[in-house]
Symmetry: C2
Subunit: 208 residues, 2 copies
């Protein structure tokens, strides 16, 4: 429990930024929650914007370390796809309400800044590349780059909806709750939708 002020600031920062956004969050709030003086932020990080950026990458790196479970490179592309979808959807029930990084991502999508680039490089692009590899294996060999890309986007789009559209979901389907059971059903659903699409693509290319 001997964390430095700098660490305490970094830890207090993310959930407040995630909850209220960069602009609405005051350095006072963060400093208070960290039990630190206001000027500690400028002392350790220079200014608010840089502090925000450092806090985000700090937590991204940390969450990457935590989620480095075996990737089972060997298994079939089908089960690797399922696994990727599961990892993404599971964030909802595992992270419970928080999902700080996803909320930050939302804000950066609505209002892109320098932090968006860091998020893309640190965890979006790697995951997208992994997904693309899987789809390349699954789809017919004569699929174009564009076709593969569209199938990848279909996977991401379906997953992200549940991660990012919670405020819509809770209003449109108040009884819809993503518990452990629903999570499994979602993973099954999205996986079979994507695999059905893959099968249809094979069918189409066979006819030609």
């Amino acid at each position: 429990m001997s964390s430095t002020t700098k660490e305490k600031l970094l830890n207090s920062a993310l959930d407040i930024f995630a909850e209220s956004g960069f602009k609405s969050t005051t350095v006072q709030q963060i400093a208070s929650r960290a039990g630190a003086n206001i000027s500690a932020i400028n002392y350790h990080f220079g200014n608010k914007a840089n502090f925000y950026a450092e806090a985000v990458v700090h937590h991204i790196k940390q969450s990457i370390l935590n989620n480095q479970d075996g990737d089972e490179e060997s298994s079939s592309p089908e089960s690797r796809l399922r696994n990727l979808i599961k990892q993404r959807i599971t964030i909802i029930s595992k992270d419970k309400p928080p999902m700080f990084i996803e909320k930050i991502l939302m804000q950066e999508m609505a209002n892109p800044g320098p932090v968006m680039d860091k998020m893309v490089e640190h965890f979006i692009r790697p995951e997208f590349n992994k997904l693309t590899e899987i789809m390349e294996e699954l789809l017919p060999d004569d699929c174009t780059e564009s076709e593969i890309r569209r199938h990848s986007f279909s996977v991401i789009g379906q997953c992200n909806f549940y991660l990012h559209a919670q405020p819509i979901l809770s209003r449109i389907c108040p009884n819809f709750e993503i518990n452990q059971n629903e999570t499994e059903q979602l993973v099954d659903h999205i996986t079979s939708v994507c695999l059905a699409a893959v099968a249809a693509e094979h069918e189409k290319h066979r006819k030609i």
Copy 2:
């Protein structure tokens, strides 16, 4: 060109709010662009928050009026699905870069406020209901509510990805441009993915 100050304010508001978000937007900016005095906003709308809300619903209602093209209630559920997807995707190329309302929606998703409720009631729920009806027709009769819902979400998720993840897309696939041609291909793709999933669902229910 004889628009009242109130109208000029409403028209100048949305794109600035969409671009910078509620908090970052200053009433000064909007008043300047409208060629109005700052106090006009408080005079006509009471305060900034209410002005923001009124501006959003004003433009939602207006855009609903503009997009009230024939809905062809009679045609097949397949073509109605395709049509719904097309309408949604076409926003990108039709609205060109702006897409003010979608940007506002993004911000409300990242940081929900009273405006989110109005957006849900005014155009999200109606569209969702329409989609649900279509999916009910397409899917096997013994599909559960939950299954139908998941299929609907798959449609929305895929569409919304292109509407909302532009900042990610432009970074991850700099050469990916959604022009007229790509729009058509996207509509085709999403439609066939969803119909393939529907077909698979029929297949599954037949076996049981």
